[in-house]
Protein backbone atom coordinates (compact mmCIF):
# COMPACT_ATOMS: atom_id res chain seq x y z
CA UNK A 1 0.00 0.00 0.00
CA UNK A 2 1.32 3.45 -0.94
CA UNK A 3 4.60 1.84 -1.73
CA UNK A 4 5.08 0.69 1.85
CA UNK A 5 5.65 -2.81 3.08
CA UNK A 6 3.04 -4.37 5.27
CA UNK A 7 4.63 -3.47 8.56
CA UNK A 8 5.11 0.18 7.66
CA UNK A 9 1.64 0.41 6.19
CA UNK A 10 0.25 -0.93 9.45
CA UNK A 11 2.26 1.58 11.43
CA UNK A 12 1.04 4.43 9.26
CA UNK A 13 -2.49 3.11 9.58
CA UNK A 14 -2.23 3.04 13.36
CA UNK A 15 -0.92 6.59 13.43
CA UNK A 16 -3.71 7.69 11.11
CA UNK A 17 -6.34 6.11 13.34
CA UNK A 18 -4.76 7.73 16.40
CA UNK A 19 -4.74 11.13 14.72
CA UNK A 20 -8.31 10.86 13.49
CA UNK A 21 -9.74 9.62 16.76
CA UNK A 22 -7.47 11.63 19.06
CA UNK A 23 -10.38 13.78 20.26
CA UNK A 24 -11.91 10.60 21.66
CA UNK A 25 -8.75 8.83 22.75
CA UNK A 26 -7.34 11.83 24.59
CA UNK A 27 -10.62 12.50 26.36
CA UNK A 28 -11.21 9.30 28.29
CA UNK A 29 -12.77 10.94 31.33
CA UNK A 30 -16.15 12.66 31.57
CA UNK A 31 -15.71 16.41 31.69
CA UNK A 32 -17.13 16.78 35.18
CA UNK A 33 -15.24 13.93 36.78
CA UNK A 34 -12.24 14.49 38.99
CA UNK A 35 -10.05 12.74 36.46
CA UNK A 36 -11.00 15.23 33.73
CA UNK A 37 -7.82 17.02 34.72
CA UNK A 38 -5.94 14.37 32.78
CA UNK A 39 -7.91 14.85 29.59
CA UNK A 40 -5.77 16.21 26.81
CA UNK A 41 -8.37 16.29 24.08
CA UNK A 42 -8.72 20.02 23.65
CA UNK A 43 -7.70 21.75 20.43
CA UNK A 44 -4.62 23.61 21.58
CA UNK A 45 -2.89 20.61 23.10
CA UNK A 46 -3.88 18.27 20.28
CA UNK A 47 -2.45 20.77 17.83
CA UNK A 48 0.73 20.92 19.85
CA UNK A 49 1.00 17.14 19.89
CA UNK A 50 0.91 16.89 16.12
CA UNK A 51 3.00 20.00 15.45
CA UNK A 52 5.77 18.94 17.79
CA UNK A 53 5.36 15.47 16.38
CA UNK A 54 6.22 16.86 12.95
CA UNK A 55 9.14 18.78 14.41
CA UNK A 56 10.53 15.69 16.13
CA UNK A 57 9.97 13.42 13.13
CA UNK A 58 11.97 15.89 11.05
CA UNK A 59 14.70 16.15 13.66
CA UNK A 60 14.93 12.39 13.75
CA UNK A 61 15.55 12.30 10.00
CA UNK A 62 18.79 14.07 10.74
CA UNK A 63 19.77 12.78 14.15
CA UNK A 64 18.26 9.30 14.03
CA UNK A 65 19.64 8.51 10.60
CA UNK A 66 22.93 10.37 10.30
CA UNK A 67 23.78 10.68 13.97
CA UNK A 68 24.49 14.40 13.58
CA UNK A 69 23.15 15.98 16.77
CA UNK A 70 21.93 19.45 15.92
CA UNK A 71 21.50 21.66 18.93
CA UNK A 72 19.99 24.51 16.98
CA UNK A 73 16.96 23.09 15.28
CA UNK A 74 14.59 25.43 17.03
CA UNK A 75 16.00 28.23 14.89
CA UNK A 76 14.30 26.73 11.86
CA UNK A 77 11.03 26.41 13.68
CA UNK A 78 11.31 30.04 14.76
CA UNK A 79 12.19 31.25 11.30
CA UNK A 80 9.23 29.29 9.93
CA UNK A 81 6.90 30.95 12.41
CA UNK A 82 8.14 34.42 11.60
CA UNK A 83 7.76 33.78 7.87
CA UNK A 84 4.21 32.56 8.32
CA UNK A 85 3.14 35.50 10.45
CA UNK A 86 4.66 37.92 7.96
CA UNK A 87 2.71 36.18 5.24
CA UNK A 88 -0.48 36.64 7.26
CA UNK A 89 0.35 40.27 7.79
CA UNK A 90 1.26 41.08 4.23
CA UNK A 91 -0.48 38.67 1.90
CA UNK A 92 -3.45 36.71 3.08
CA UNK A 93 -4.88 34.87 6.05
CA UNK A 94 -4.92 31.68 4.04
CA UNK A 95 -2.52 29.24 5.66
CA UNK A 96 -1.28 27.62 2.44
CA UNK A 97 1.06 30.39 1.26
CA UNK A 98 2.18 30.94 4.85
CA UNK A 99 3.14 27.32 5.36
CA UNK A 100 4.81 27.10 1.99
CA UNK A 101 6.89 30.18 2.70
CA UNK A 102 7.79 28.85 6.15
CA UNK A 103 9.16 25.70 4.62
CA UNK A 104 11.07 27.52 1.91
CA UNK A 105 12.63 30.05 4.25
CA UNK A 106 13.45 27.45 6.87
CA UNK A 107 14.95 25.30 4.13
CA UNK A 108 17.15 28.13 2.88
CA UNK A 109 18.20 28.98 6.41
CA UNK A 110 19.03 25.32 7.00
CA UNK A 111 21.00 25.21 3.78
CA UNK A 112 23.15 28.12 4.95
CA UNK A 113 23.68 26.89 8.51
CA UNK A 114 24.06 23.30 7.41
CA UNK A 115 26.60 24.18 4.75
CA UNK A 116 28.82 25.81 7.35
CA UNK A 117 28.17 23.53 10.32
CA UNK A 118 28.56 20.28 8.41
CA UNK A 119 32.20 21.08 7.86
CA UNK A 120 32.63 19.65 11.35
CA UNK A 121 31.42 16.47 12.97
CA UNK A 122 30.48 15.26 16.42
CA UNK A 123 30.25 17.75 19.21
CA UNK A 124 31.94 20.43 17.11
CA UNK A 125 28.97 20.25 14.76
CA UNK A 126 26.55 20.41 17.69
CA UNK A 127 28.17 23.52 19.08
CA UNK A 128 28.20 25.24 15.68
CA UNK A 129 24.46 24.69 15.27
CA UNK A 130 23.89 25.79 18.83
CA UNK A 131 25.87 28.95 18.19
CA UNK A 132 23.84 29.84 15.11
CA UNK A 133 20.54 29.22 16.86
CA UNK A 134 21.46 31.19 19.96
CA UNK A 135 22.60 34.06 17.77
CA UNK A 136 19.27 33.98 15.97
CA UNK A 137 17.41 33.99 19.25
CA UNK A 138 19.37 36.80 20.81
CA UNK A 139 19.26 39.01 17.77
CA UNK A 140 15.54 38.34 17.29
CA UNK A 141 14.96 39.30 20.90
CA UNK A 142 16.86 42.56 20.65
CA UNK A 143 18.40 44.10 17.55
CA UNK A 144 16.04 42.55 15.01
CA UNK A 145 12.94 43.78 16.82
CA UNK A 146 11.69 45.67 13.74
CA UNK A 147 11.30 42.30 12.01
CA UNK A 148 10.52 40.08 14.94
CA UNK A 149 8.80 42.41 17.40
CA UNK A 150 11.29 41.24 20.00
CA UNK A 151 10.14 40.24 23.45
CA UNK A 152 6.45 40.47 22.66
CA UNK A 153 6.60 38.31 19.60
CA UNK A 154 5.41 39.09 16.11
CA UNK A 155 1.65 39.29 15.99
CA UNK A 156 -1.17 40.50 13.83
CA UNK A 157 -2.48 44.01 14.31
CA UNK A 158 -5.45 45.96 13.08
CA UNK A 159 -3.21 47.86 10.65
CA UNK A 160 -1.69 45.04 8.64
CA UNK A 161 -1.81 45.78 4.90
CA UNK A 162 -2.75 42.26 3.74
CA UNK A 163 -2.84 42.48 -0.06
CA UNK A 164 -5.28 39.63 -0.58
CA UNK A 165 -7.84 40.07 2.13
CA UNK A 166 -9.13 42.61 4.58
CA UNK A 167 -7.18 44.50 7.18
CA UNK A 168 -9.90 44.08 9.75
CA UNK A 169 -13.23 42.29 9.88
CA UNK A 170 -16.49 44.20 9.77
CA UNK A 171 -16.86 43.90 13.51
CA UNK A 172 -13.46 45.51 13.96
CA UNK A 173 -11.47 42.40 14.79
CA UNK A 174 -8.42 40.83 13.25
CA UNK A 175 -9.29 38.27 10.56
CA UNK A 176 -8.76 34.61 11.35
CA UNK A 177 -6.33 32.19 9.77
CA UNK A 178 -8.13 29.89 7.42
CA UNK A 179 -7.80 27.30 4.71
CA UNK A 180 -9.83 28.71 1.84
CA UNK A 181 -12.43 29.99 4.24
CA UNK A 182 -12.27 27.11 6.69
CA UNK A 183 -11.33 28.78 9.96
CA UNK A 184 -8.45 27.12 11.74
CA UNK A 185 -9.76 27.90 15.19
CA UNK A 186 -13.32 26.80 14.73
CA UNK A 187 -14.31 23.74 16.67
CA UNK A 188 -17.28 21.42 16.67
CA UNK A 189 -18.29 19.91 19.95
CA UNK A 190 -19.89 16.53 20.31
CA UNK A 191 -21.57 15.94 23.64
CA UNK A 192 -22.05 12.31 24.45
CA UNK A 193 -23.33 11.64 27.92
CA UNK A 194 -20.85 13.24 30.26
CA UNK A 195 -18.18 13.49 27.63
CA UNK A 196 -17.47 16.44 25.47
CA UNK A 197 -15.41 15.77 22.38
CA UNK A 198 -13.90 18.63 20.42
CA UNK A 199 -13.17 18.52 16.71
CA UNK A 200 -11.04 21.40 15.63
CA UNK A 201 -10.33 22.33 12.02
CA UNK A 202 -6.80 23.43 12.71
CA UNK A 203 -6.05 20.20 14.49
CA UNK A 204 -7.26 18.10 11.59
CA UNK A 205 -5.30 20.11 9.10
CA UNK A 206 -2.15 19.79 11.20
CA UNK A 207 -2.97 16.13 11.75
CA UNK A 208 -3.26 15.55 8.01
CA UNK A 209 0.12 17.19 7.54
CA UNK A 210 1.58 15.03 10.29
CA UNK A 211 0.42 11.97 8.40
CA UNK A 212 2.00 13.29 5.21
CA UNK A 213 5.18 14.14 7.08
CA UNK A 214 5.21 10.76 8.76
CA UNK A 215 4.59 9.01 5.46
CA UNK A 216 7.46 10.86 3.81
CA UNK A 217 9.64 10.02 6.77
CA UNK A 218 8.87 6.31 6.34
CA UNK A 219 9.66 6.54 2.66
CA UNK A 220 12.95 8.24 3.40
CA UNK A 221 13.83 5.65 6.04
CA UNK A 222 13.23 2.87 3.57
CA UNK A 223 14.83 4.53 0.58
CA UNK A 224 18.38 4.25 -0.71
CA UNK A 225 18.86 7.80 0.51
CA UNK A 226 17.85 6.74 4.02
CA UNK A 227 20.19 3.79 3.82
CA UNK A 228 23.02 6.11 2.80
CA UNK A 229 22.29 8.32 5.79
CA UNK A 230 22.51 5.35 8.11
CA UNK A 231 25.74 4.43 6.40
CA UNK A 232 27.05 7.92 7.14
CA UNK A 233 26.28 7.36 10.79
CA UNK A 234 27.91 3.98 10.73
CA UNK A 235 31.16 4.68 8.91
CA UNK A 236 32.01 7.87 7.05
CA UNK A 237 35.42 6.57 6.08
CA UNK A 238 33.93 3.61 4.25
CA UNK A 239 31.42 5.91 2.58
CA UNK A 240 34.23 7.99 1.15
CA UNK A 241 36.15 4.93 -0.01
CA UNK A 242 33.00 3.59 -1.62
CA UNK A 243 32.85 6.56 -3.93
CA UNK A 244 30.12 8.34 -2.03
CA UNK A 245 30.26 12.01 -1.16
CA UNK A 246 28.90 12.27 2.37
CA UNK A 247 28.53 16.03 2.42
CA UNK A 248 25.52 16.36 0.09
CA UNK A 249 23.85 13.46 1.86
CA UNK A 250 24.16 15.03 5.26
CA UNK A 251 23.34 18.47 3.91
CA UNK A 252 20.22 17.14 2.20
CA UNK A 253 19.17 15.46 5.44
CA UNK A 254 19.85 18.68 7.32
CA UNK A 255 17.80 20.76 4.90
CA UNK A 256 14.90 18.30 4.79
CA UNK A 257 14.89 18.19 8.54
CA UNK A 258 15.05 21.99 8.66
CA UNK A 259 12.05 22.14 6.35
CA UNK A 260 10.13 19.83 8.67
CA UNK A 261 10.93 22.28 11.46
CA UNK A 262 9.80 25.14 9.21
CA UNK A 263 6.56 23.30 8.53
CA UNK A 264 6.04 22.86 12.25
CA UNK A 265 6.75 26.54 12.80
CA UNK A 266 4.41 27.59 10.03
CA UNK A 267 1.69 25.37 11.45
CA UNK A 268 2.17 26.80 14.91
CA UNK A 269 1.68 30.27 13.50
CA UNK A 270 -1.33 29.09 11.52
CA UNK A 271 -3.02 27.74 14.61
CA UNK A 272 -2.13 30.78 16.64
CA UNK A 273 -0.73 33.70 14.65
CA UNK A 274 2.08 34.73 16.93
CA UNK A 275 5.80 34.10 16.65
CA UNK A 276 7.97 34.58 19.71
CA UNK A 277 11.74 34.63 19.87
CA UNK A 278 11.82 32.07 22.69
CA UNK A 279 10.93 29.49 20.09
CA UNK A 280 14.54 29.71 18.95
CA UNK A 281 16.24 29.57 22.33
CA UNK A 282 18.60 26.71 23.08
CA UNK A 283 16.09 25.28 25.53
CA UNK A 284 13.65 24.87 22.63
CA UNK A 285 16.33 23.15 20.57
CA UNK A 286 17.14 21.00 23.55
CA UNK A 287 13.49 20.09 23.90
CA UNK A 288 13.29 18.48 20.48
CA UNK A 289 16.50 16.59 21.20
CA UNK A 290 14.97 15.30 24.40
CA UNK A 291 11.73 14.39 22.64
CA UNK A 292 13.59 12.35 20.07
CA UNK A 293 15.87 10.55 22.49
CA UNK A 294 13.09 10.00 24.97
CA UNK A 295 10.85 8.48 22.34
CA UNK A 296 13.63 6.51 20.71
CA UNK A 297 16.08 8.06 18.28
CA UNK A 298 16.28 6.38 14.91
CA UNK A 299 12.87 4.78 15.23
CA UNK A 300 9.94 5.91 13.15
CA UNK A 301 7.30 6.45 15.79
CA UNK A 302 9.55 7.27 18.77
CA UNK A 303 9.89 11.00 18.18
CA UNK A 304 6.13 11.41 17.96
CA UNK A 305 5.72 9.60 21.26
CA UNK A 306 8.46 11.67 22.86
CA UNK A 307 6.85 14.89 21.67
CA UNK A 308 3.49 13.85 23.06
CA UNK A 309 5.03 12.80 26.36
CA UNK A 310 6.81 16.07 27.03
CA UNK A 311 3.96 18.29 25.85
CA UNK A 312 1.51 16.33 27.96
CA UNK A 313 3.51 16.95 31.09
CA UNK A 314 4.07 20.57 30.29
CA UNK A 315 0.40 21.27 29.72
CA UNK A 316 -1.42 18.87 32.00
CA UNK A 317 0.80 18.41 35.04
CA UNK A 318 1.60 22.09 35.32
CA UNK A 319 -2.09 22.82 35.77
CA UNK A 320 -2.74 20.55 38.70
CA UNK A 321 -2.81 22.82 41.73
CA UNK A 322 -3.38 22.36 45.42
CA UNK A 323 -7.12 22.87 45.13
CA UNK A 324 -7.36 20.14 42.51
CA UNK A 325 -5.35 17.79 44.72
CA UNK A 326 -7.61 18.47 47.65
CA UNK A 327 -10.64 17.75 45.51
CA UNK A 328 -9.15 14.38 44.56
CA UNK A 329 -8.37 13.26 48.06
CA UNK A 330 -11.13 14.97 50.00
CA UNK A 331 -12.69 11.62 50.84
CA UNK A 332 -9.70 10.74 52.99
CA UNK A 333 -9.35 11.74 56.65
CA UNK A 334 -8.04 15.27 56.99
CA UNK A 335 -4.57 14.44 58.25
CA UNK A 336 -3.98 11.84 55.59
CA UNK A 337 -5.45 14.07 52.93
CA UNK A 338 -3.07 16.87 53.82
CA UNK A 339 -0.14 14.51 53.95
CA UNK A 340 -0.89 13.08 50.51
CA UNK A 341 -1.57 16.48 49.04
CA UNK A 342 1.69 17.74 50.51
CA UNK A 343 3.60 14.92 48.83
CA UNK A 344 1.91 15.28 45.46
CA UNK A 345 2.27 19.04 45.47
CA UNK A 346 5.97 18.71 44.81
CA UNK A 347 5.41 16.84 41.60
CA UNK A 348 2.58 18.77 40.00
CA UNK A 349 1.79 22.42 39.43
CA UNK A 350 4.97 24.41 39.83
CA UNK A 351 6.79 21.12 40.45
CA UNK A 352 6.06 19.68 37.04
CA UNK A 353 9.65 20.16 35.97
CA UNK A 354 10.76 17.88 38.78
CA UNK A 355 8.48 15.10 37.57
CA UNK A 356 9.71 15.54 34.04
CA UNK A 357 13.35 15.42 35.12
CA UNK A 358 12.78 12.27 37.14
CA UNK A 359 10.97 10.62 34.25
CA UNK A 360 13.82 11.48 31.87
CA UNK A 361 16.20 9.71 34.19
CA UNK A 362 13.96 6.71 34.72
CA UNK A 363 13.15 6.23 31.07
CA UNK A 364 16.71 6.50 29.84
CA UNK A 365 18.05 4.30 32.63
CA UNK A 366 15.56 1.49 32.29
CA UNK A 367 14.54 1.78 28.65
CA UNK A 368 17.73 2.38 26.67
CA UNK A 369 15.73 2.48 23.44
CA UNK A 370 13.34 5.10 24.74
CA UNK A 371 9.59 4.85 24.95
CA UNK A 372 9.51 2.69 21.82
CA UNK A 373 11.45 0.06 23.67
CA UNK A 374 8.97 0.34 26.52
CA UNK A 375 6.23 -0.32 24.01
CA UNK A 376 8.10 -3.26 22.55
CA UNK A 377 8.61 -4.77 25.98
CA UNK A 378 4.95 -4.37 26.78
CA UNK A 379 4.13 -5.91 23.44
CA UNK A 380 6.40 -8.85 24.17
CA UNK A 381 4.85 -9.24 27.59
CA UNK A 382 1.38 -9.51 26.16
CA UNK A 383 2.37 -10.80 22.77
CA UNK A 384 1.97 -14.42 21.82
CA UNK A 385 4.81 -16.71 20.89
CA UNK A 386 5.78 -14.80 17.78
CA UNK A 387 8.85 -13.60 19.65
CA UNK A 388 11.47 -15.53 17.78
CA UNK A 389 10.03 -14.48 14.48
CA UNK A 390 9.95 -10.86 15.45
CA UNK A 391 13.48 -10.80 16.71
CA UNK A 392 14.87 -11.65 13.34
CA UNK A 393 12.53 -9.16 11.77
CA UNK A 394 13.72 -6.33 13.96
CA UNK A 395 17.27 -7.33 13.34
CA UNK A 396 16.93 -7.04 9.62
CA UNK A 397 15.30 -3.64 9.90
CA UNK A 398 17.22 -1.89 12.62
CA UNK A 399 15.77 1.46 11.68
CA UNK A 400 12.32 0.47 12.72
Amino acid sequence: MLGLNKKDATLLGVVAVLVIFAPFILNPFPADSAMAQFNAGYPDLMQRFVIFGIFAVGFNLLFGLTGYLSFGHAAFLGVGSYSAVWMFKLLSMNVIPAILLSMVIAGLFALLIGFISLRRTGIYFSILTLAFAEMSFRLAYSVLTPITNGETGLQLTLEDPRILGQTATESGGIPVTNLFGLEMRSTEVLNLGGWSFQFNNGYYMAGALLLVAFYISIRIFRSPFGMMLRAVKSNQQRMNYTGLNTKPYTLAAFVISGMYAGLAGGLMASMDPLAGAERMQWTASGEVVLMTILGGAGTLIGPVLGAGFIKYFENIFSKINEAVLHSWFHALPDGLENAIVWVFEHFVGSGWHLTLGLLFMLVVTFLPGGLVEGGQRLGRLFGRKKDAEEKTATQSTPAE
Partner: protein, 253 residues
Protein backbone atom coordinates in the same frame (compact mmCIF):
# COMPACT_ATOMS: atom_id res chain seq x y z
CA UNK B 1 52.50 2.40 -19.60
CA UNK B 2 50.94 0.81 -16.51
CA UNK B 3 47.50 1.49 -15.18
CA UNK B 4 49.03 3.16 -12.14
CA UNK B 5 52.02 5.42 -12.60
CA UNK B 6 53.66 6.97 -9.56
CA UNK B 7 56.37 9.46 -10.42
CA UNK B 8 58.79 11.19 -8.05
CA UNK B 9 56.35 11.24 -5.19
CA UNK B 10 57.63 12.75 -1.97
CA UNK B 11 55.92 13.56 1.31
CA UNK B 12 57.20 15.19 4.47
CA UNK B 13 55.59 15.30 7.90
CA UNK B 14 57.31 18.12 9.67
CA UNK B 15 60.91 17.06 9.89
CA UNK B 16 60.26 13.50 8.83
CA UNK B 17 60.73 12.56 5.20
CA UNK B 18 58.12 9.82 4.95
CA UNK B 19 58.45 9.36 1.22
CA UNK B 20 61.59 10.32 -0.61
CA UNK B 21 61.33 9.89 -4.32
CA UNK B 22 59.02 7.08 -5.18
CA UNK B 23 58.56 5.82 -8.69
CA UNK B 24 56.25 2.97 -9.34
CA UNK B 25 54.54 1.51 -12.34
CA UNK B 26 51.83 -1.10 -11.98
CA UNK B 27 50.87 -3.04 -15.07
CA UNK B 28 47.21 -3.60 -15.81
CA UNK B 29 45.79 -6.90 -14.55
CA UNK B 30 48.83 -7.66 -12.49
CA UNK B 31 49.24 -8.31 -8.80
CA UNK B 32 51.81 -5.96 -7.45
CA UNK B 33 53.03 -6.13 -3.87
CA UNK B 34 54.72 -3.38 -1.91
CA UNK B 35 56.77 -4.62 0.98
CA UNK B 36 59.17 -3.07 3.36
CA UNK B 37 60.01 -2.89 7.04
CA UNK B 38 57.96 -0.90 9.51
CA UNK B 39 58.10 2.82 8.86
CA UNK B 40 59.18 2.33 5.27
CA UNK B 41 56.35 4.56 4.06
CA UNK B 42 54.05 1.89 2.69
CA UNK B 43 50.90 3.29 4.29
CA UNK B 44 51.86 6.85 3.41
CA UNK B 45 52.27 5.83 -0.19
CA UNK B 46 48.90 4.10 -0.16
CA UNK B 47 47.26 7.16 1.37
CA UNK B 48 48.73 9.24 -1.41
CA UNK B 49 47.16 6.96 -3.97
CA UNK B 50 43.63 7.21 -2.57
CA UNK B 51 43.54 10.92 -1.88
CA UNK B 52 43.78 10.78 1.90
CA UNK B 53 47.14 12.51 1.70
CA UNK B 54 48.41 14.84 -0.96
CA UNK B 55 52.08 14.34 -1.82
CA UNK B 56 54.39 17.34 -1.68
CA UNK B 57 56.03 16.50 -4.96
CA UNK B 58 55.53 14.22 -7.93
CA UNK B 59 52.49 12.85 -9.71
CA UNK B 60 50.14 9.92 -9.43
CA UNK B 61 48.39 8.90 -12.63
CA UNK B 62 45.65 6.35 -12.80
CA UNK B 63 44.74 5.20 -16.29
CA UNK B 64 46.26 8.34 -17.73
CA UNK B 65 44.48 10.71 -15.34
CA UNK B 66 46.01 12.45 -12.36
CA UNK B 67 44.48 11.56 -8.99
CA UNK B 68 46.21 14.38 -7.16
CA UNK B 69 43.90 16.95 -5.65
CA UNK B 70 40.92 14.65 -5.87
CA UNK B 71 39.01 13.54 -2.81
CA UNK B 72 38.85 9.87 -1.83
CA UNK B 73 35.35 9.42 -3.19
CA UNK B 74 36.31 10.93 -6.55
CA UNK B 75 39.29 8.67 -6.81
CA UNK B 76 37.11 5.73 -5.92
CA UNK B 77 34.68 6.68 -8.65
CA UNK B 78 37.63 6.59 -11.07
CA UNK B 79 37.92 2.89 -10.29
CA UNK B 80 40.22 2.51 -7.28
CA UNK B 81 38.89 0.62 -4.27
CA UNK B 82 40.66 0.20 -0.99
CA UNK B 83 40.61 -2.52 1.64
CA UNK B 84 41.79 -1.42 5.07
CA UNK B 85 44.01 -3.06 7.59
CA UNK B 86 41.14 -3.44 10.03
CA UNK B 87 37.97 -4.02 8.04
CA UNK B 88 36.05 -0.79 7.47
CA UNK B 89 32.45 -1.82 7.00
CA UNK B 90 29.06 -0.38 7.99
CA UNK B 91 28.89 -2.13 11.32
CA UNK B 92 25.37 -1.00 12.20
CA UNK B 93 23.93 -2.21 8.92
CA UNK B 94 23.10 -5.70 7.75
CA UNK B 95 25.34 -7.59 5.37
CA UNK B 96 22.78 -7.12 2.63
CA UNK B 97 22.75 -3.37 3.14
CA UNK B 98 26.52 -3.30 3.26
CA UNK B 99 26.53 -4.95 -0.13
CA UNK B 100 23.89 -2.73 -1.65
CA UNK B 101 25.62 0.53 -0.83
CA UNK B 102 28.57 0.00 -3.23
CA UNK B 103 26.10 -1.18 -5.85
CA UNK B 104 24.25 2.08 -5.52
CA UNK B 105 27.50 3.98 -5.60
CA UNK B 106 28.42 2.23 -8.82
CA UNK B 107 25.08 2.93 -10.46
CA UNK B 108 24.17 6.37 -9.10
CA UNK B 109 27.53 8.00 -8.58
CA UNK B 110 28.76 9.99 -5.62
CA UNK B 111 25.41 11.46 -4.67
CA UNK B 112 21.82 10.91 -5.63
CA UNK B 113 18.82 12.20 -3.74
CA UNK B 114 16.83 9.03 -4.04
CA UNK B 115 14.47 9.42 -1.15
CA UNK B 116 11.15 8.08 -2.31
CA UNK B 117 11.71 4.75 -4.00
CA UNK B 118 12.14 2.01 -1.44
CA UNK B 119 15.33 0.00 -1.22
CA UNK B 120 13.27 -3.16 -1.54
CA UNK B 121 11.97 -2.16 -4.93
CA UNK B 122 15.47 -1.71 -6.35
CA UNK B 123 15.50 -5.16 -7.93
CA UNK B 124 18.56 -4.54 -10.05
CA UNK B 125 20.66 -3.50 -7.10
CA UNK B 126 19.42 -6.35 -4.98
CA UNK B 127 20.25 -8.84 -7.65
CA UNK B 128 23.76 -7.55 -7.97
CA UNK B 129 24.25 -7.56 -4.24
CA UNK B 130 22.85 -11.08 -4.02
CA UNK B 131 25.08 -12.28 -6.79
CA UNK B 132 28.13 -10.84 -5.13
CA UNK B 133 27.19 -12.37 -1.80
CA UNK B 134 26.69 -15.74 -3.47
CA UNK B 135 30.04 -15.33 -5.08
CA UNK B 136 31.76 -14.52 -1.81
CA UNK B 137 29.93 -17.08 0.33
CA UNK B 138 28.13 -14.43 2.31
CA UNK B 139 24.58 -15.17 1.20
CA UNK B 140 23.75 -17.15 4.33
CA UNK B 141 24.56 -14.15 6.49
CA UNK B 142 22.64 -11.56 4.52
CA UNK B 143 20.44 -10.55 7.46
CA UNK B 144 23.18 -10.44 10.04
CA UNK B 145 24.43 -7.21 11.47
CA UNK B 146 27.86 -6.65 10.10
CA UNK B 147 29.16 -5.89 13.58
CA UNK B 148 28.31 -9.34 14.81
CA UNK B 149 30.34 -11.20 12.17
CA UNK B 150 33.69 -12.88 12.69
CA UNK B 151 36.80 -11.01 11.69
CA UNK B 152 37.38 -13.23 8.72
CA UNK B 153 33.85 -12.64 7.49
CA UNK B 154 34.25 -8.92 7.96
CA UNK B 155 37.34 -9.00 5.78
CA UNK B 156 35.47 -11.05 3.22
CA UNK B 157 32.58 -8.58 3.31
CA UNK B 158 34.88 -5.63 2.88
CA UNK B 159 36.52 -7.18 -0.13
CA UNK B 160 33.12 -8.10 -1.54
CA UNK B 161 31.97 -4.50 -1.10
CA UNK B 162 35.01 -3.27 -2.97
CA UNK B 163 34.52 -5.77 -5.75
CA UNK B 164 30.84 -4.89 -6.06
CA UNK B 165 31.98 -1.60 -7.46
CA UNK B 166 33.85 -3.41 -10.20
CA UNK B 167 37.02 -1.45 -9.60
CA UNK B 168 39.91 -1.62 -12.01
CA UNK B 169 42.42 -1.30 -9.21
CA UNK B 170 42.06 -2.90 -5.80
CA UNK B 171 44.35 -1.69 -3.04
CA UNK B 172 44.81 -4.00 -0.09
CA UNK B 173 46.42 -2.65 3.07
CA UNK B 174 47.84 -5.63 4.97
CA UNK B 175 44.71 -7.71 4.48
CA UNK B 176 45.96 -10.54 6.68
CA UNK B 177 47.35 -8.49 9.54
CA UNK B 178 46.62 -10.16 12.83
CA UNK B 179 45.06 -13.21 11.23
CA UNK B 180 45.65 -16.82 12.17
CA UNK B 181 47.47 -18.92 9.62
CA UNK B 182 44.29 -20.72 8.54
CA UNK B 183 42.49 -17.44 7.93
CA UNK B 184 45.48 -16.10 6.10
CA UNK B 185 45.43 -19.06 3.77
CA UNK B 186 41.73 -18.60 3.19
CA UNK B 187 42.33 -14.99 2.29
CA UNK B 188 45.08 -15.97 -0.12
CA UNK B 189 42.73 -18.43 -1.78
CA UNK B 190 40.03 -15.84 -1.92
CA UNK B 191 42.27 -13.32 -3.59
CA UNK B 192 43.55 -15.90 -6.04
CA UNK B 193 40.01 -16.80 -6.93
CA UNK B 194 39.10 -13.17 -7.41
CA UNK B 195 42.04 -12.65 -9.68
CA UNK B 196 41.12 -15.71 -11.69
CA UNK B 197 37.57 -14.60 -12.28
CA UNK B 198 38.13 -10.96 -13.04
CA UNK B 199 40.19 -8.54 -14.99
CA UNK B 200 41.50 -6.55 -12.10
CA UNK B 201 44.73 -4.99 -10.96
CA UNK B 202 45.68 -5.60 -7.36
CA UNK B 203 48.19 -3.67 -5.32
CA UNK B 204 48.87 -5.26 -1.99
CA UNK B 205 50.82 -3.95 0.94
CA UNK B 206 51.88 -6.76 3.13
CA UNK B 207 54.14 -7.77 5.94
CA UNK B 208 53.59 -11.46 5.65
CA UNK B 209 56.01 -12.78 3.05
CA UNK B 210 54.03 -15.97 2.70
CA UNK B 211 51.11 -13.93 1.39
CA UNK B 212 53.32 -11.82 -0.82
CA UNK B 213 55.06 -14.66 -2.48
CA UNK B 214 51.84 -16.62 -2.94
CA UNK B 215 50.15 -13.80 -4.79
CA UNK B 216 52.44 -11.18 -6.23
CA UNK B 217 53.60 -11.06 -9.79
CA UNK B 218 55.86 -8.13 -9.12
CA UNK B 219 57.22 -6.78 -5.86
CA UNK B 220 58.47 -3.35 -4.90
CA UNK B 221 60.60 -3.12 -1.79
CA UNK B 222 60.36 0.16 0.04
CA UNK B 223 62.81 1.27 2.69
CA UNK B 224 62.99 4.64 4.38
CA UNK B 225 60.59 6.17 1.94
CA UNK B 226 62.36 5.15 -1.26
CA UNK B 227 62.03 2.05 -3.45
CA UNK B 228 65.01 -0.23 -3.15
CA UNK B 229 64.25 -2.81 -5.76
CA UNK B 230 61.43 -3.73 -8.03
CA UNK B 231 61.32 -7.15 -9.60
CA UNK B 232 59.57 -10.49 -9.91
CA UNK B 233 59.28 -12.50 -6.67
CA UNK B 234 61.94 -15.03 -7.53
CA UNK B 235 64.50 -12.27 -7.94
CA UNK B 236 63.46 -10.47 -4.81
CA UNK B 237 63.95 -13.48 -2.59
CA UNK B 238 67.67 -13.56 -2.72
CA UNK B 239 68.33 -9.90 -3.37
CA UNK B 240 71.09 -8.62 -1.10
CA UNK B 241 69.61 -5.15 -0.69
CA UNK B 242 66.39 -6.65 0.54
CA UNK B 243 68.19 -8.86 3.00
CA UNK B 244 70.03 -5.85 4.25
CA UNK B 245 66.89 -3.80 4.65
CA UNK B 246 65.16 -6.53 6.58
CA UNK B 247 68.21 -7.58 8.53
CA UNK B 248 67.41 -11.17 8.10
CA UNK B 249 63.73 -10.78 8.53
CA UNK B 250 63.13 -12.33 5.14
CA UNK B 251 65.09 -15.42 6.01
CA UNK B 252 61.99 -16.96 7.43
CA UNK B 253 60.13 -16.46 4.22
Amino acid sequence: MGILEVKNVGKRFGGLQALGDVNLSVAENSVHAIIGPNGAGKSTLLNCLVGKLIPDTGSVMFDGQSVLGRTPYEINQMGISRVFQTPEIFADLTVMENMMIPCFAKRDGAFKLNGIKSVESEAEIRDRAEAMMEDMNLAEKRHMHAASMSRGDKRRLEIAMCLAQEPRLLLLDEPTAGMARADTNNTIDLLKEIKQKRDITIVIIEHDMHVVFSLAERITVLAQGTPLVEDVPSKIKGHPKVREAYLGETAAA
